[in-house]
Symmetry: C2
Subunit: 722 residues, 2 copies
């Protein structure tokens, strides 16, 4: 075990050190003029204030949920849960901190040259990427090392515990599996709050700023006279950086622990010939008891390789920064990270006692991620037909524009779902549910790179905002806008990865749940969950319908939260202009703070209900209808959420880029009726792509990990069928 | 058998006679002025022309698919398929014929009194309702009687047939089950074309008429100067009447034959103790071999009771027509039909050798249907909070309006899904999959009433159009509008029924499919389909993802068809106004025919691809990935489609009614910014509620019945796993 934890810890420390170095190297850059400093100060203060307010809610939730876990299971479970929560919060802060340091400095660097600006912005992104990857892996290594006794192959067994001392209320589980599940669940809970809260914040601010600023008063984007403009920039940092970081940290952890948990069940169930047959698929190595740690902790080595590869890719990008055209450099960097990750995984597999089944599954995961990323780009980039046709349809007015945008989103579900379905079948054929879990791991193995590229976008976006608000020379904004557009292309692939990886991570968690749910009494079985059977019958099917529905209700709550918070803000903006006409003349600064406070308190209050829904429904379904119905519930939610999330992300992305395509001078350009239709379509698409889509990713992961954690508590046959 | 077929045939004849009588009694009324006659002529010609064009495509498809069935199985299967197709087409024509006869006569009657108008319109609706119910039941009685040898309990067995004489290509099935499946599939194919084609037609015409007429030229609704106005009225008849009729006819047949097919499998599998246990749940009666016909044909008696009850309810409504306030009379009529249906079912059950399990399941179906109808009304009627709040949000502009409308639709999925899930579990617990099929039957047992009430709406809508176009006194339009609004409230329940019944009918078909798929080799098993298992593993799960995706792609194709056909039409309308300015002055009539031709050819051409998708995907999945993957595919599609269909129907309905609520003078009334936002939101919602939602209902039924029909052809283990 020492080797695995040691390597992971070492790599994690290296990653965190890089994050610190990157942050330090950003700080060294100049912050620019006084006006720029002032604006950066506003944004940073606003972002910190909001994330601290969120952290307060999260800390209370974390303490309560952790305490319940401690009472139900053991104190170790509680501690693991807390570690997961704290690290997830920390990842959000690290990213947000780096991003709010880098934004103004990127603007300042853009005053001298485009390349300097790119350098600062990308360095900010890498701080986040490495922070996420390093903290996730380091935390897991810590948990495994702290509670190493509970993972020991010699003593690993199905334990029985009596809940609250109630006679007959016995539950069976593997303690080590519960501990790592709790670690993942802790991260998940925080990620949900971060994603939902950040998502509501960012879109409410954005919509309000656009609706009053752009539509009513015809102010340009990021005009300092618009009171919501700072809140809009804060939103980018708390939603697109903080939320994204926590979300991918959770996917990353989930994909690692799923493999470990299934590995533990396989080990405990070795005596069962079915399970022995499954282990045999991985060659003689895994059949050997002595190689237990390889079976359970191999993913730690795979992702350590991914982090090392990402660091090498960073070095390549840094060395290439003298090049003229940076977009291919970024793309090549991503390819390099992916390729090296695969190569290191092949090497690790070759050194391991396993055959190449884990490697092939992982490779399929990487390939699927890239494939899904490509289809996202095809449907959302204005270089391809779907978005160009959408832009053309804007000429027929906003209603047709929105309708066609929805159609593009719906159509875009085709390939990702075929890819996911295909990868599911192939990985299962290769290695059973463990193979599927390895597939998920592949997709997430070089998460450091995808997060870096993804969070570079909002930094560039902020930099543009600061340039305009500080009334810098227009050439500066041109440079930062170019930066932004490079980010968009690269980020399209990243977004595809986020959805694909969430689907796979949730699938891996469900796989682990199925193993836990099938681990009945004191014997472990290969999961055999009926869709419909003569005994428990329609429970699974009914669970599916309810699961499919919950994703819609969750989405509805989010959309309402966004539009209602935006509405409050619209009223505030109108009030400021009405009561203080000097603002419009540019003679006095508007009350930015008040807008920030309104959005922040709206977002924190409104993130509670959807979060409670996500936490509560699997518990209710599990406790009342039992493990089988819950399996159906999770699968129904997964299917519904994956398709809906792809739809939301791509419909929103395409509507946005089609609007930008019109702005570039096509179909009448800015100010034309097509552009007006595009602005409306974009506003409809905004909460879909930036609030609902990303939140659905974490919804299915959270529901799955909660189910995994509490699986042993749920009855096999519900009370009304006994 | 004679008794069952005799009763069904008798009731079916009575229903068809009523339809004929109703049509005759409409024709006796006056058609009104020459101008009114002219317009009615245009609408009727347009509707006939389109439905004949559709019928051409359907006839070719029907001949081809039927021929393939004949070659694969037996000539009897082909004949049953053709009977189903022809009756489904006939039902569409009967309804459309009555509706196009009743529309102008309703207007004419409205010139004298409101009650006369209601009488004509409702009589038109009953012609459709009884036509649908009578033809469906009569056709089934005919098929069972024609091929009675294939349903004979003495010889009923699992047959083996070698496909195309290919050695080893043996399939196993029960011939009688295949015959009734083919009957249902024939009806289904035509219903799909009717729904999709009619749905595209009606919304393309509506959107085009609104976009140019209302938005660009500020013409009022149904202005005769608008060249698209006749096409819009034709659309109501081919979509909302013809399409609806064919759709519910298919649900009705599907729910009957599902019970019969499962009954046949139970009979053949009696020797299996599991199956014997299942039969025992229905009491000693069904265990007796002599009561075979009761087990298989009981649903025919239930629905015969439903038709008789509906006829009695018609009589009640006719007798009450002297009353002041007709809305409660219509509601009471519906309640009476439901109550009597339940009472007659109880009586039938009491006379039958079964215990009350079928009755309870059926009752639960009726209750669920009413429950779903009520939730639809709550979310879409402006008497309740959700739609009023939506109307309020229109004040913040079209983007917020559409966004909030989507949220209402998503939220509205909550209760229907809980109801469906609950009904699924309870009916299964009571009587296995047969119980679930009885639940579906309950929901559809008084279909004659729901269709009558539903198709009365478009007649009233047309009547209003004719009033305006004929420049009658505004008081006439007021009366017909009142008629329309009464129809809307009653139809909300009908719409809920349509969705709920489609979900249940599809579920019943899937249940029958599961029985067929489980009927392996020469022995029948109780279906036990794994969601995930060690052998075939992730096939079912992967099938689900793909099934979930197909509903979105299907919806995308429909939306695009609507908006592109509307676009062609917009160009044509603009051309007419541009080339002939006299139209705008009202000096010359626009070229209505050309608009009708454009929409009709657009709709017929564009219904082919979605239909091919619906027909083809289950075959591809079944042939390549086998029966288990197909089970997953159907379930995934069902879940995705049910939630999406509820979302579409209620989002669209709420956006429409919120707009009407604004028009009534709230939040600024007509011409206010809130109203403009409402018009945009309504245009976005229109294809959702009138094209996508209804088509999804038939999509899942068609895919399920196609799977049921071809089940025996699909491998149990796919080729790549052997």
């Amino acid at each position: 075990m020492g080797v695995f934890v040691g390597v992971a810890a070492l790599v994690a420390v290296a990653a965190v050190l890089w994050a610190a170095y990157a942050t330090w190297s950003i700080v060294r850059h100049s912050q620019g003029t006084d006006r720029m400093k002032e604006i950066q100060h506003y944004i940073r203060d606003g972002a910190y204030a909001f994330m601290l307010e969120e952290a307060r809610v999260m800390t209370i939730s974390m303490l309560v949920v952790g305490g319940v876990l401690g009472l139900l299971f053991y104190w170790e479970v509680m501690v693991a849960f807390w570690i997961g929560s704290i690290l997830s919060m920390a990842a959000g802060f690290v990213g947000m901190n780096a991003a709010t340091l880098a934004n103004g400095r990127t603007t300042e660097a853009a005053r001298s040259s485009f390349k300097n600006a790119l350098n600062v912005a990308f360095t900010g992104g890498t701080a986040m990427g490495m922070g996420v990857a390093g903290l996730a892996l380091g935390g897991l290594a810590l948990v495994v090392w702290l509670f190493r006794g509970d993972f020991d192959p010699a003593t690993l067994t199905i334990e029985t515990k009596t809940i609250f001392g109630i006679p007959g209320a016995d539950v069976n589980f593997i303690k080590g599996a519960i501990i790592v599940s709790a670690y993942s669940a802790g991260a998940s809970l925080v990620a949900l709050f971060d994603r939902v809260g950040g998502g509501i914040y960012t879109k409410a601010a954005d919509m309000a700023a656009d609706m009053v600023g752009k539509v009513e008063l015809k102010l340009p984007e990021d005009d300092p006279r618009n009171p919501a403009t700072i809140a809009d920039n804060v939103g980018d940092n708390v939603g697109d950086v903080g939320g994204l970081g926590a979300d991918l940290l959770e996917s990353f952890i989930a994909s690692i622990i799923s493999v470990s948990i299934i590995g533990m069940y396989l080990h405990v169930g070795r005596a069962n010939p079915d399970i022995a047959g499954l282990i045999a698929r991985y060659g003689e190595g895994f059949q050997d008891l002595a190689n237990y740690w390889w079976m359970v902790l191999l993913p730690m080595l795979f992702v350590s390789g991914g982090i090392v590869s990402t660091l090498i890719a960073f070095a390549y990008i840094r060395l290439s920064r003298a090049r003229e055209n940076m977009q291919p450099v970024l793309m090549n960097g991503t390819r390099l990270a992916a390729g090296l990750t695969v190569a290191l995984a092949a090497l690790t597999t070759w050194l391991s006692p396993s055959n190449f089944v884990p490697f092939w599954c992982m490779l399929l995961g990487v390939g699927s991620g890239i494939g899904i990323g490509f289809t996202s780009e095809y449907f959302t980039s204005s270089s391809y037909k779907p978005t160009r046709q959408l832009a053309e349809s804007y000429q027929s007015g906003p209603a047709i524009g929105v309708t066609e945008g929805m159609a593009v989103g719906m159509l875009s579900a085709l390939w990702p779902c075929l890819i996911i379905g295909g990868a599911m079948i192939i990985t299962y054929l290769l290695g059973g549910l463990l193979g599927t879990a390895f597939g998920a791991l592949g997709m997430l193995s070089f998460v450091g790179m995808t997060v870096s590229v993804d969070s570079y976008g909002p930094i560039a976006d902020n930099a543009s905002g600061i340039a305009t608000m500080s009334a810098l020379d227009p050439s500066v904004r041109e440079r930062t806008d170019k930066l932004d557009s490079i980010g968009n292309t690269t980020a399209a692939i990243g977004k595809g990865f986020a959805i694909g990886s969430a689907a796979f991570a949730a699938l891996a968690l469900i796989a682990a749940y199925l193993w836990s749910a099938a681990g009945l009494a004191d014997e472990v079985h290969v999961p055999n969950i009926p869709l419909i059977d003569p005994e428990r019958g329609a429970l699974v099917l009914a669970g599916m319908i309810v699961g499919g529905m919950v994703t819609y209700v969750f989405s509805a709550l989010l959309i309402r939260s966004v539009s209602r918070t935006a509405d409050l803000m619209v009223q505030e903006i109108r009030r400021q202009f009405r009561e203080n006409p000097d603002i419009m003349e540019g003679k006095t600064t508007p009350d930015y703070k008040r807008c920030i406070t309104i959005t922040a308190s709206g977002a924190t209050r409104k993130m509670v209900l959807p979060s409670a829904l996500a936490l509560g429904t699997p518990l209710v379904v599990g406790l009342i209808f039992g493990r089988f119905a819950l399996a159906g519930f999770l699968v129904g939610a997964l299917i519904s959420a994956v398709v809906l999330a792809i739809y939301c992300a791509n419909a929103g992305g395409s509507m946005d880029n089609a609007k930008k395509y019109v702005e570039e001078g096509n179909f009448g350009g800015k100010g034309s009726p097509a552009h007006d239709a595009g602005v409306t379509a974009d506003t409809v698409g905004d909460p879909l792509k930036d609030t609902v889509g990303p939140s659905l990713d974490i919804l299915i992961k959270l529901m799955s990990v909660v189910s995994l954690l509490f699986a042993s508590l749920f009855p096999i046959t519900p009370f009304f069928m006994r």
